[in-house]
Every structure is written in C-alpha cells, then in structure tokens.
Symmetry: C2
C-alpha cells in the first residue's frame, strides 16, 4: 500500500471548530478571536485573568544535530502532545509559526508529519493569522521613521553611515540584500546604503517572542538601537517616538494562536524567530498561557540541542522565569548513521557500526542537557527502513549513558505509537528530578559567557576573537548590557563551527566573526561563520508549481 503524503493526511483531518478545542483548555468562546473556523487568538483579557493559576509541567523537545536525513523534532513534539492526551493527561503543544517567503523557494513545511501534524496546514504556510505581516509592518515603520527623521533635519544627530536598522520582507529576495536607497534627488532624502532581511530575522520578531505583555513589548521596542551618532552614542527607537505605533501595529500579533492536531488536541502556534541570530523558540506569551491552561506543555526549540536547547534554557527560560521539567532528545537511526559517517545515498542499508559511532553525537547532547539540571529521555523517531539491530544499538548506547531511548511510531500511528514515551515523560516530570539552572549567571562578563557555551556545550578548546570584538563586548558591559545572555549564531550541523564535522568533535576552536547587540530583544548575538539573513530563490522555485488544482486544492506548496 502506498503511503499517504502529509498533505493527504492533513486534508483528511476531521477538524473540530476551534471553540471546541479552546473549551478543552477552558477558554470561553468569547475570549477566542476566531480567524476562520479552525484558528483563533486568545484574548489579552483572558490571559491576564490566568495569572494566579499554577503552572503545568514544561517539556522541551530537542534533537541531535540535524542532518539531511531528517530527525522529526516537530513531528515528535506534536506526537508527544497527542500521546500525553491519549494517556489521560491534559496537554497542549507550543510550536513556532512558519515563514511565508521560504515556502515559495523550497517546498513549504508541514507542522509535523504523518499522523502527528498540526492543521490547517495551508493557512500555516501562508498568511496564517497575519502575525508576520504585522511584524514586517512594525519593523518597516521604524525604518521609514529613521530616514524621515534625517530628511526633516536630523535633530537627533543620527550618523547616517551608522544606521544599523535595516528593512525586512517575508520573501526570499536576494536582490534586496544590499541596496542604495533615497536616490532620485532632494525629495527622496539622502542616498544611503541599506538592505532587507527576511522578516523572521527581525529583532521585532525576537522581541515579540520574548515580551511578556504589551507594556513589556513597548518597553523592548523602545530599547531597540537603530543607529549611532558620530560620537558612537546609540539612538533608540524610543528617541524616534516609534515604540507606541509599533506596539499598536503588533498588539493583535502578540495574542497567541490556537489551532489543533490531527487528533483534535490544542496547539499554540506563535512566533518564529531565527534560530541563529535569534533564539529560535515560540513566544513566551504562548508558552506561559499554555502552562496556565494545561497540565503538560510540550514545546520545541530550533536546530539541535547545542543551539536550540542551549538558547531555550539560557535565554527564553532565564528571561521568562520558566523551568523545564524534562527534555526529550529526538534521534533517528538514519540521522545517527549520517553522524557516524554514512553518506545519504547509503542510508537504506543496515549499518549497526555506523549507528553506534553516530551515537557519540546523541551522547553529548544527553550530557549537555543534564548540565542544566533537567532529566532527559531519547525518542527514536521510527523510520520504515530501521532494522531491529540498529534500534537496539541506540537503546543500548543510551542506557550506557544512564538514560533511556524509547522507540516511537507516532508518524505512522499517531498517539498510539508514542504512549511509552508519554508515560516516561510523565514519570520524569512528576519525579521532581529537575533542578533547572541556566549555564552561566547574569553577571558573568560577556566574553566568559561565550567561552562557557563554547567549552561546556560545544566542547571547544578556545574562543578566538580579535581585539575589536573584545573591546566591543567591554564597551557594551560599560554601557550596562553586561548582564544580557548570549545568542550564538553558528552552523546547526555540528557542535563545532565546521558544518562538515559531524559526530562529537573535540579540540576545535570557535572563531567569533562579529558581535551584535539586540538591545530590545535583550541578548548579544555572537556570529561564528556566515549567517544568511535574506535567502534567495533556487533555480526552479516552488512558486513555479504552486497553484490551485481543478479540485480547488493548493498544489506544490508542500
């Protein structure tokens, strides 16, 4: 029998009205702002009314370093949410929103896969509830206000060569990466260099995902550094009086979006910051709201645990006062084989030795997660070509590390295939074993924070940074930004900064190319290697094949 595709399964979903999904969490219909019949935003007033309630348990789903073989982190997040509900727990999941632009380059992403998906898939790949459009508008309003301020006399003394605030668009458009603006004469302003990033790379996105409420949102927006003066003093968005209007533009986008899984369980899909130059987690407000409404909240972080889980713990949990109760590390036999040196073309053949070798990558992530004081369990996301011996090799290896690996077949079987993991997660979370603490204290000097992550998480020998970068970090410390956490931007494919170095490398160095201050979001971005903030379209973009077919279904988007 031919397998159904993700989209075929999604289209067969028996969706319930979103009010019924909300009712599962006790959200009254009048506090759900509907977007169609299958999406809704939770009202600000209702969220405020929850503040005295106790929090449920927070479960983070993370993964080994990603490979082209695929790990299925979101699929496992969705599956585990369904699994917890299936064993009688009141559970909700919290994941990120998809970016529209990239869907027209490569194929768009499903939220999960197989029988562990969130729906409506089309909407989630397109405009959804308009959050990213609101972020684009707020970001570009600030850009326009900067140039407008200079145009009308530049009272703030902005050095136009030192405007750091670019523009954004939710589109893969390489032609906009580097541009010259304000050509054409006096009426159009002063010619200047500029450029566009993709919307998910906007600091406004990171801010929206870290803000606790509208007041906090406005404060953070005001804190954005948009430019410097000739004397190098910063100019803030607040100086331009842009923070109020940006907040108004973002108010609805701040409200978490509720949708459902294929098994009609609640899923909050909200926010989607880059996982390199930003922290790569769904919004704090969605996670917090879910914790007030559900006994178990399953969430995920971007990329592998070296980037995603590290930032989830050191940035999101630290800043939002969250404490995870258990961590699930997702691995697949195929991805472990690739970490063990097998080429993609050879993944079909059984190779227990390669699996065992690749387990070194998994083992280090287990160790790392435990450094944060949180118990970990491994989910083996089953693939049809996995052999019994390969699966046993993973289980045996993980057992040696003092942890447990559980085979999960949620992709094929939905919640029924992930009940064992769900039960183990409940045990871990209820055990009270978690003693969460971030990896470094707030008051550690910035460079030491970078070294701490590089040495304890990446297992590098050293961090390489020239004087200019160290001076910049010290200058920020003197300006009062020394207490911020670090947001590492490096390749997701390796513990090191070399994307080809799979497994569990040691003896490497972490060269810092550039540091950036995201003063509104509240972190220092440390860039190691090339980071692309505006993707391009491929030779044959997916857009060429996206269309409505004769039955009125969207084709080519998935």
């Amino acid at each position: 029998m031919a397998h159904k595709t993700d989209i075929e399964i999604a289209r067969e979903a028996k969706k319930k009205p979103i009010q019924e999904i909300g009712a599962k969490l006790g959200i009254p219909a009048e506090h759900l702002l509907p977007f169609g019949h299958d999406k809704a935003k939770v009202s600000d007033a209702f969220i405020k009314s929850l503040s005295d309630r106790p929090d449920g348990k927070l479960i983070l789903v993370t993964a080994i370093n990603p490979t082209p073989a695929g790990e299925g982190k979101t699929t496992t997040t969705v599956g585990l949410g369904d699994g917890l509900n299936a064993i009688g727990k009141k559970a909700a999941i919290c994941i990120r929103e998809a970016s529209l632009g990239p869907c027209f380059g490569m194929k768009g992403g499903a939220a999960g896969g197989g029988y562990a998906q969130v729906v409506p898939m089309e909407d989630m790949n397109l405009h959804f509830t308009g959050d990213f459009h609101a972020i684009t508008s707020a970001h570009n309003l600030l850009s326009a206000m900067i140039d407008n301020h200079i145009y009308w006399g530049n009272e703030l003394g902005i050095d136009q060569r030192r405007v750091t605030w670019r523009r954004v668009m939710d589109m893969n458009d390489r032609a906009l990466r580097q541009i010259v603006t304000s050509l054409g004469g006096v009426a159009n302003g002063f010619p200047a260099e500029g450029g566009f990033d993709i919307t998910v790379a906007s600091e406004v996105m990171a801010i929206l995902c870290l803000a606790t409420d509208l007041k906090d949102l406005q404060r953070r927006l005001g804190d954005i550094i948009v430019a410097y003066r000739r004397d190098r003093s910063p100019v803030y968005a607040r100086d331009l009086k842009a923070d109020g209007a940006m907040t108004v533009l973002l108010a609805q986008a701040m409200q978490p979006n509720l949708v459902q899984t294929l098994e009609n369980n609640p899923a909050f899909v909200h926010g989607g910051p880059f996982a390199n130059i930003a922290h790569g987690c769904n919004s704090v407000i969605a996670t917090r709201t879910a914790l007030k409404l559900a006994d178990y909240v399953v969430t995920e972080a971007g990329f592998g645990a070296d980037l995603g889980a590290e930032k989830f713990m050191n940035i999101k949990c630290r800043k939002a006062g969250l404490a995870p109760d258990a961590v699930v590390i997702v691995a697949t036999v195929r991805a472990l084989k690739m970490n063990g040196g097998v080429a993609r073309a050879d993944l079909g053949a059984e190779n227990v030795a390669a699996v065992r070798k690749g387990c070194a990558n998994l083992g280090r992530h287990i160790e790392n997660v435990k450094q944060f004081g949180v118990p970990a369990v491994v989910a083996i996301n089953h693939f049809v070509t996995d052999t019994e011996a390969e699966i046993e090799a993973v289980k045996a290896y993980v057992a040696e590390q003092g942890s447990e690996a559980i085979l999960c077949t949620h992709w094929a079987n939905g919640s029924a295939g992930i009940a064992d993991l769900a039960r183990r997660v409940v045990e871990l979370a209820e055990s009270g074993a978690a003693q969460f603490a971030p990896l470094y204290p707030d008051d550690m000097p910035l460079f030491e924070k970078i070294e701490t992550i590089a040495k304890r998480i990446y297992r590098a020998d050293e961090v390489l940074a020239d004087k200019k970068i160290r001076d910049q970090l010290r200058a920020w410390e003197e300006a009062g930004y020394g207490n911020l956490p670090i947001c590492m931007a490096k390749t997701q494919y390796s513990f090191s900064t070399d994307p080809n170095l799979r497994g569990a490398p040691t003896g490497h160095s972490v060269p810092v190319r550039e540091v950036r201050l995201s003063a509104g979001a509240g972190f220092v971005v440390v860039i190691c290697g090339e980071i692309m903030t505006m993707p391009g379209l491929p030779r044959h973009p997916a857009a060429e094949t996206i269309r409505f077919n004769e039955e009125g279904f969207v084709e080519g988007l998935f």
Copy 2:
C-alpha cells in the same frame, strides 16, 4: 454641548456579532469566515451559489471636486445605506479598505463620520483582514521571481533595463522610491535600478478589485507585463510561472469582507486601488455579491465625479457588466463656497453669492452623470455653519438643472437625517429611468477615448500628446490592447489638470505626460501631471503620537 469625535462615537457602537449581520443578508454562519467577532469574509462557495439570483439596485455615491473643506462622500454612502434600511429596504453598502501606511503619516481615516460610520474603526485602519498584506506578498513574489530568473541565466531574455515591475510596501517611505538593488557581488545578482510604490498603487490591487473569481484573477495576474526584451516584446508574469502562486497568496484576500455600520447594517469593505493610476473603486466581487444579497447596494468611487464616477462607469461597470440605477452627487455648502473662490479661513461666514458661483462645479457633474444615462440626485451634506439662505441657493440651482438637491443630516442624526434622500433614491431607481451606457465604445481608438473623456467630462478643448505617446498607443492597439478602457490619472481638485482651477473651467488643454499599460488589470493609464505612487511621512508623522493609552484604547490613529 461639545460634539463627540468620530472615534468616541465609534467606540460607543453597540456592535452585533458578525453572524447576525450576515443573517440579515441570508448568509449562513458556516459561510462566514470570521476574523474576530466583528469582521468576516464571505465564502467562495456561497458566492458561487448566488449566481442565478436577480440583482438589486445599484446606487453610486460620488461628489463634486474635493476641496480641503471636505465633502463627506463616504459618510453619505454609509448614511444612505442606513437610511434605506430605516425606510424598510434591504440595503448594503460597498466601500474601499483603508491603506495602513498613510495612517502613520497623517491621521488615519474613519470609514464615514459622525453617526454614519462603519466599524470596527481601529481594525479597518490597521491590518483589517490582511488583504493588503496578501497583495504586498503576491506583488513582491513576482518581483523576486523576475530577478531570480535573470540571476539563474535569464532564459526568457529579459532586458534588465526594461523591467517595469517595481516592488510595493504598505508604508510611506520616500527612501524606497528610487533605489539600486543587487549590490554586494555575484551572489546578490545584477545591480539594477528599482523602487517601491505603496501597496494600493500595485497593479495586483487593481486586478483583485476587477477580477470576477479566482480563475479570472489568475488569468489577469498571468497577463501582467513585467518587462520587455531587447526587441521590445513583452514578458508576462505567466512566462515566469508566477500566476499560480500569486493566486494562492491572494485567494483569501479575494473573499469580500463583511462588517457593519453603527446602525448594524451590513457593509462590504473590500479592495482599495488608487483613484489616479487605478480605477479607485471597491472590488467587483464585493459589489456583485452585495447585489445578489440586497435590494439596494450603495457604493462610492474615489475623488470627484470627473475621475471617480467616470472610471466607475467606463471601467468597473463596463468590465463587470454592472449598470447603476441612480447616482447621488454629494456636495457641501462649504466646498461649494471654496469652488466659488472663498478661502478656507473665510468659510465660516455666510456667502450666498460664492455658493451660487461654486454651484457651477456641481452643475457640470450633474450634466456629466446624465451623459451615462443614469438619473442623479444631489445630497447636501449638512454642516453646522450652513445658513438657510446658502442651502436654499443650492437647492434652487440644482432645480434649475432639472434635478433635486436634498438636505441630509446623517452626520448628526444617522439614518433619521437622510430618510428624504433614501426615499428619492428609491423613486429614481424604481422609475426605470436609468439607461446606462459607457461614454465610449470598446473599439474606439485609444487616443480618441482619451479625447472623449477630456472633452465630454473635463470640457477641455484639446488633448496634448507628443509623437512618442501617440506611437505607443498605436503600438498597443496593434498588440491587441486597443479595446481597453482608459484610466485617467490627473489632479482630483479640478476638472482641468491644474489643481488650482476650481469651479467649472473651460478652454483648457489636457497634456498627457506618460501612458502605461496595465495589461492584467485591463486598462491603459494616462498620466497628466505628477502622480506620487510612494508617499513620504510628514515632519511629525502621526506615528509619533499613536499609542495605547492607560485605558487600553488606541490614541493618535484618528
């Protein structure tokens, strides 16, 4: 007693759930896609199911040439809709959506005013249901696909110097009017000149507003000319295979938005093309849907009747097969005084002579409307400073023209203040007097069409156009575009192309500066004078004062 502001009145509105508003028109709740509790889109399936129903009567509200004194065209449209409902008719109104960008420059617009408004006002000035964001995305996807095609080898042989498709953003940003893109080396493409227009100026906006369904939308999007080759042959969006993906991006935006008036009557607010380089009317699909659901549909067109009504008749009605049954021409005593030569500062003083002089402007619009075979009535939109003698002067003048002017106080009194006009509109519409015909036939040569509008509507002596422009028009005729209607882009402040020439000028010339082919929208744009397609922000943009106040209300937007 101090008058309440529009926003105060709007906030006191007793809004009904949008399903109740839909029910008034017989739209089942499952065919309303809600956006919150007070906005909804009407489903495609429901619209299709209406095709066999008879149409209601179509009433166009237009106005004299606009002045800084204000005419209240939208206010009268809304008031008349309420008035018709109040006298027992099943009526709906159809107006345009507001553009987000300009709200952050000058104050945002209300939809109507006083006790004749459409709500929710905040949403309508911000993201509303996301239609304009969808248009921005679809437009810029096409832009990215053009540059991407050139980047990957330029198989279609696009002459990069002749790319006519710019980019758009819904923001007032003068710095983006003229830019150079693709700087920074090989990976970013070939440097080129480019620029951004505001979203409402996008041809995609005009297309969405003229398309009859998704198929027609896709066909029109495919017809867009994006560039020319060295041999001057056109390259279409279809050649880039962009039309399918653009249609998918626009599918939801194509569904008309339903909201309500302060008196809880149905209002379709959908689409908002520029009224100079485009046709300035709400969407065909909204108007057609309303005509199937209501016995009376009141709609409006942009600017004064010389631009708005002319395009409504010659472009929208011609192309959509619509036939207006009556026209309301809105005038105010103040605006007539300004047309009669009174300065804005002196509008407070009674000046019957100036009113009578300014009536020449009104008189010509009455004549013009009758040229289309549609009966006209004048609405005097009452202002508190109007004197009895001034109002009588208008009434007497209009009576001399064989028409009738009716005093309306809907701004102060809602539907109760406009019952007389409503009754007269019903008489005119039911009389069967309307014998609508466009002003020129499809097969008239393009230049003759321009002359027809200039001479019969503007009362100019001649149209001035150099050889290059006449050759271009002939080339388009040879390419099969000769049957398109003309979309005039000239100042809205005068019948002539001189904005300072108020009243009813004669003996003037209409100089054509440029012609553009909107092959997808299906009209030839004729530009007479400077047309700004990307506004800038003023010295102190409204954005500086827009914020949430302590009560949680938006301030500064209105």
